[in-house]
């Protein structure tokens, strides 16, 4: 059927708007990358917009491999925290969800106990006091990993999925002599693989992007995560995070520097964003599915 003229106009308009919107996402990154490799003079002359003016990867080299580089330390911290928090968070959530999917003594009590925490919390300061004064976890990895493990919301989502597992399957396993843990592991878990994948992705993303706990619970760069490192380089511009200074401040030495501080800051943005940007297209479907099936909170 022939499309009407107004329909064609609308469709052109539609493609245009969506393209413009997509450009608002692509162009900032092109701009940032361009600045990260451009010449010092061009940057200062407001000449760098979408494309580089000159091309120099020194900022990247220094940030990654320079003598004062802490990028890989930060990367390592982020990776460890992500793996541990995801694994523990998922495991504990699965166990709790399994229990809540069954009847047991005190179920109502525990249900209220868990759900109340979603509505009401002690606030930042009591939490801070707990971790620093009573647990003595200041400047430890524990402070960065453990608080993020428990999430009642995910427990509820998983529980709903578990309740949909046919009773016949779980009962057959029990008749065969399996204990609860085995039932969970070998019967229920395989049946909700999709949910498990989705929830673990959310845990992982959350852990990967963490920076606030680093800020309030540590004061050593050895604990920095990638995001916190980025914050210091670009947003609060801490002295220890800049890398283009060799310490030599003679006029001659300063004259030799042909990189712009922005080269380093922009390089940091790109380097910190690359891991996520390269992975997310392949796992986006888990997030979409997770959002829809459980209305998972962002």
């Amino acid at each position: 059927m022939r499309k009407s003229k107004s329909r064609i106009t609308f469709e052109i308009f539609n493609y245009l708007i969506i393209t413009l919107f997509s450009l608002t996402i692509i162009i900032p990154f092109m701009h940032i990358f361009s600045i990260s490799v451009s010449d010092k003079k061009a940057i200062d002359a407001s000449a760098v917009s979408i494309f580089p003016v000159g091309f120099n990867l020194k900022a990247y080299y220094d940030t990654l491999f320079g003598p004062k580089s802490i990028f890989f330390t930060a990367f390592g911290n982020t990776a460890i925290i992500t793996v541990l928090q995801t694994f523990l968070g998922l495991t504990f959530a699965l166990m709790a969800a399994y229990v809540f999917s069954k009847k047991f003594f005190g179920k109502t009590f525990f249900t209220y106990m868990y759900i109340l925490t979603m509505y009401f919390s002690g606030g930042l300061i009591p939490f801070y006091i707990l971790v620093t004064k009573y647990l003595h976890w200041y400047n430890t990895y524990l402070a960065l990993i453990v608080p993020g493990i428990v999430s009642v919301w995910y427990i509820i989502v998983i529980r709903t999925q578990m309740e949909a597992v046919p009773r016949s399957m779980t009962e057959a396993a029990i008749i065969d002599g399996a204990n609860e843990f085995n039932v969970l592991l070998k019967v229920v878990l395989p049946s909700i693989k999709g949910t498990v994948a989705a929830i673990s992705m959310f845990f992982a993303l959350n852990a990967w992007n963490m920076w606030f706990n680093v800020m309030i619970f540590t004061d050593k760069p050895s604990f920095w995560t990638l995001q916190y490192y980025l914050r210091n380089v670009v947003i609060s511009k801490l002295e220890s995070a800049t890398l283009d200074r060799t310490g030599d401040t003679t006029m001659e030495a300063l004259g030799k520097i042909n990189t712009h501080p922005l080269n380093y800051q922009m390089a940091a943005i790109i380097l910190v964003a690359i891991p996520i940007i390269s992975i997310y297209p392949f796992v986006q479907k888990y997030f979409v599915k997770g959002l829809l099936t459980g209305s998972v909170k962002e």
Binding site: P126, I129, L262
Partner: protein
Amino acid sequence: MNGLTAAVKQPNYKKRKGNRIKFSAGRDLPLFALLSPSAILIIIFCYFPIYGIIIAFKDYSPFHGIIDSPWCGFKYFTAFLTDSDFWRVMKNTITINLYSLVFSFPAPIILALLLNEVSKTWFKRLAQTISYLPFFISWVVVASLVISVLSPTTGIINVILNNLFGIEPIYFMTYSKYFRIILIAAGIWKGIGMSSVYYLAALTNINSELYEAAIIDGAGRMSQTLHITLPGLRPIAMVLFILSVGNLATIGFDNVFLLYNPLVYDVGDVISTFTYRIGLQELQYSLSTAISLTQSIVNFAMVYMANRLAKKYGGWSMW
């Protein structure tokens, strides 16, 4: 659809005394074992801080600890309720949330409607994938992008303004008049892609027979959108809207904290950043806790009511 099933009241399966579940070691002990890790973590990280709320009524000092710090009643509550800084911050929080509601709420809906009209699958998929990118990157990356893009002299906005229009560099991030726009625009940019999936899913759930019947009846595109598409989105939109309203008194910390600076505190300082500064930078632990507690209670009431309304009108429930 969902609204219809919600209107049908479920029979009330309230537990009668005779139906209480009795303890059975064989059944319950293994379950308690499975429950214990999360339960212990919840007691430590959720309930101990809830107990710690009492420092709002004490002159807490780290030296004395929670128990030994002296009581002082409502001293800190009176303090902040009579502090104009607090009310400014409260006003900022609600204002930003209201602006957000007006602009951020429709954005994903519009994107979903536009994407839905795209016939070329590859374009739609590509656009969607690109639109999800801001969701995945952290607020640190987003804030870094915003600050860099708006940077005077070197940021692309100023570069264009300077080269094309000869305008002097504008220090966008230092002006209160720009801050709300920047904050909300960044928020939309970050969330619109992922949020649109709710609506796109709802759109695919609309019965195509409705459209066919409408076309037969001679309805144009506009009419179809008004009478079929939008009503089809109503349940999920209602639920999300009510939940957003329920969060009017809270606001995220990350985005504001990373984007603001003292020059824009008058419009940008919100309850979350305020309590953070009071508590962890000015070390007024009790005062910060008092503010937090009040805010928690207000928020609890609002979220609870919002959930009730969402359940009633959208058939959606937290549990």
